[in-house]
């Protein structure tokens, strides 16, 4: 995983709440067996509407998505994270994220920056009034800066550390392999096995 310290790019205002993962990437696009190429499916249904924000050339190169509350609800599909990242997004800003989506993002290296809905509204206004505005997301100081707007955001400390260091979860866990083995020896014998 690439380390993430700070990122500057074009902000995209997505004025929608409850953006579920079926909207981020519909099921018909989930059939690939790789982690790449999902950008075609990103917001596939909405992109058919020519007024949809990503069809505006000013935002086409966007890398910071600013969305309404309850982003990433529904299906656990990590393809939603890959689709956003394959398209070029490095950060999603929202006042509330669905748990599984947020977990998946942290593993794959997409930053989910949670800030107040008031700050989301300020960012929306700025990005709509001045399309193409550059936004800087700084994970070290946990701030989003765009024009006059400076917003603090939350991200849990452990995910922040892993992102800053670019660390892979599995290697971290395998450092504690003896603990896993010790636990296994204490499990009751009647616990079921699939074989």
């Amino acid at each position: 995983m690439d380390a993430f310290t700070t990122h500057t790019g074009t902000g995209v205002p997505l004025r929608r709440s409850n953006v579920d993962t079926d909207q981020i990437i519909p099921a018909e696009y989930l059939k690939r067996v790789t982690k790449s190429g999902f950008e075609d499916g990103l917001f596939a249904a909405w992109r058919k509407d020519e007024t949809f924000i990503l069809n505006d050339p000013t935002y086409a190169a966007g890398s910071i998505l600013v969305a309404g509350p309850d982003f990433g609800t529904g299906s656990s599909r990590e393809h939603a994270v890959w689709a956003l990242m394959n398209y070029g997004f490095r950060v999603v800003v929202s006042s509330r994220f669905a748990d599984i989506f947020r977990g998946n993002s942290g593993k794959a290296g997409l930053l989910t920056a949670q800030c107040s809905q008031d700050d989301v509204e300020l960012l929306w206004k700025l990005l709509e009034n001045e399309p193409g505005t550059s936004v800087t997301v700084d994970l070290v100081s946990r701030t989003i800066t765009a024009g006059d707007v400076v917003a603090a955001f939350d991200v849990d400390e452990y995910t922040r550390w892993r992102l800053l260091e670019g660390l892979d979860d599995i290697s971290l866990t395998l450092r504690h392999e003896p603990d896993i083995t010790a636990y296994e020896q204490l499990r009751p014998a009647w616990k079921p096995v699939t074989g």
């Binding site: 409850n18 909207q23 982690k35 249904a45 309850d70 656990s76 636990y183 079921p192």
Partner: protein, 479 residues
């Protein structure tokens, strides 16, 4: 202070705790399907890691499988299924493929084999893993990176959840089922209301539910944004498990039951949040919008977005536009063209029995297609042994092979643009059942009554059937 059920299961699975780190939790059962696993196996291969516990891992094919006889014709679906088969063979994981006697939807297969047991941790790359919480297991959906993590280590680093009690007391009226309970809960707390929580469903109405009803409730916990839903195990749970293929036997059974009896929230435990619902006030519930929280009692009308706060209003306006509905229309006037009975929410034998009891002796309305899709090969056999397939086909419904089917548009069972369904599945998101398709989430009873009338209906809306004249009386009359 006492502990909640969720906290007890959590504590029993902590492998390691470290300052400023998430707890490392042991996973008792890892279920796999073809959609969310290929990239995880790829990751293992790239780093040269084996699967740590193939004996705690099980795979089935469900999302892509067609529900009519014959092979998969979509080449990309086929690749995904073949990839799962190759991965399971290479890594030594038991797989129930299409056509196998144990194949079915992953969340139907685990419980029916007796693999899902109280107090376990169960994960799967599928958000509806919450289903297994009905047994008092801590069960939740994970992403593909986490699938790889569990395959490699049989553990997951997890931040503690908060706990929410959802108490449903009282008796359900006739024609009201577990699906109506959970739809009402989601409408009450919203699609984000459970975010960060493990929900514990409790109260007399929950205790009175069968295991299948409890699975329906826990299945849809995720639609309230919760990480998991749980119900404390009791005699109903033990009776369901006893004798199942993977349930403990003899002395092991006694030891297991003794430990399962400890799995309840202590009287002095505190929940972080509590919600109370009066079961006796519940009526059949349907959704009108494009998220599972946008629902109302069937006796109500399509709500007016103008009466809602800003965020909800925008979402409701969009939903009504997508659904092609006008505020103020009585929900019972909404005509549908497709009825789907099935899915991990309502594809079990009791669900099929409930739907069959309503359509028996009746006909599916003209212009309506009704698909009945058992959740597993076992459910299908059981239903056929009870003659339910004949009841459905005689009523004009289609009786299908097991799979996820029309719950999500990944296989040939889809809605066409503009088509409208009454569906026993779990999500009414835009395009979920097919591009441009419109979904109303309902219980199996409402689905069946809707199929007969062609408009959203409950069984109480149906004309009573003519009483059957016993054959002996007929012979007497003729003589």
């Amino acid at each position: 202070m006492g502990r909640t059920l969720a906290e007890k299961v959590w504590d029993a699975h902590v492998v390691r705790q470290g300052e400023g780190e998430p707890d490392l939790l042991y996973i008792d059962l890892h279920l796999l399907h073809e959609v969310t696993s290929p990239q995880a196996f790829d990751g293992l291969r790239l780093s040269g890691r084996p699967v740590r516990r193939t004996d705690l891992t099980l795979a089935t094919e469900d999302h892509n499988v067609p529900t009519t006889p014959g092979p998969i014709t979509d080449p990309i679906s086929l690749t995904q299924v073949h990839t799962l088969r190759r991965n399971c063979e290479e890594f030594g994981i038991r797989l129930y493929p299409m056509g196998d006697a144990e194949q079915g939807i992953v969340h139907v297969v685990g419980p029916q084999l007796g693999l899902t047991q109280p107090g376990m941790t169960v994960v799967c790359g599928d958000s509806h893993t919450s289903t297994h919480g009905a047994f008092g297991a801590l069960a939740f959906g994970i992403g593909t990176s986490e699938v790889e993590h569990v395959l490699a280590t049989q553990t997951l680093p997890l931040k503690p959840f908060r706990t929410m009690a959802i108490t449903v007391d009282g008796e359900l009226a006739d024609g009201v089922s577990s699906k109506d309970i959970v739809l009402a809960v989601i409408a009450k707390i919203g699609t984000g209301g459970g975010q960060g929580y493990v929900l514990e469903f409790r109260g007399s109405a929950i205790r009175a539910l069968s295991m299948e009803g409890r699975m329906t409730v826990c299945n849809m916990s995720i639609e309230a944004g919760a990480r998991a839903g749980m119900i404390a195990p009791d005699e109903t749970t033990f009776a369901y498990l006893e004798g199942r293929d993977h349930a403990p036997r003899g002395e092991d059974w006694d030891a297991a039951v003794a430990s399962w009896r400890e799995l309840h929230t202590d009287e002095d435990a505190e929940f972080d949040a509590e919600v109370v619902i009066d079961a006796s006030e519940l009526t059949p519930f349907v959704t009108w919008g494009t998220n599972p929280g946008q629902g109302a009692p069937l006796s109500h009308s399509v709500p007016d977005p103008a009466t809602m706060d800003d965020t909800e209003r925008q979402s409701a306006e969009r939903a009504l536009e997508y659904m092609g509905l006008v505020a103020g229309t009585p929900l019972r006037r909404i005509a549908i063209d497709t009825v789907f009975v099935g899915s991990c929410t309502n594809g079990r034998i009791e669900d099929l029995r409930a739907a069959a009891a309503v359509v028996k002796g009746r006909r599916v309305a003209d212009g309506v297609r009704m698909l009945v899709v058992p959740g597993s090969a076992r459910v299908r056999l059981q239903a056929e042994a009870e003659g339910l397939d004949t009841v459905f086909t005689e009523a004009g419904a289609e009786w299908r092979l097991p799979g996820c089917s029309m719950c999500l548009a990944m296989n040939p069972d889809k809605l066409a643009p503009g088509e409208r369904s009454a569906s026993t599945s779990n999500r009414n998101f835009e395009g979920r059942q097919g591009k441009g398709g419109r979904t109303h989430l309902v219980s199996p009873l409402v689905a069946a009554a809707t199929a007969v009338r062609g408009t959203l209906s409950s069984p109480s809306d149906l004309e009573p059937l003519e009483p059957l004249v016993p054959a002996a009386d007929l012979a007497h009359q003729e003589a």
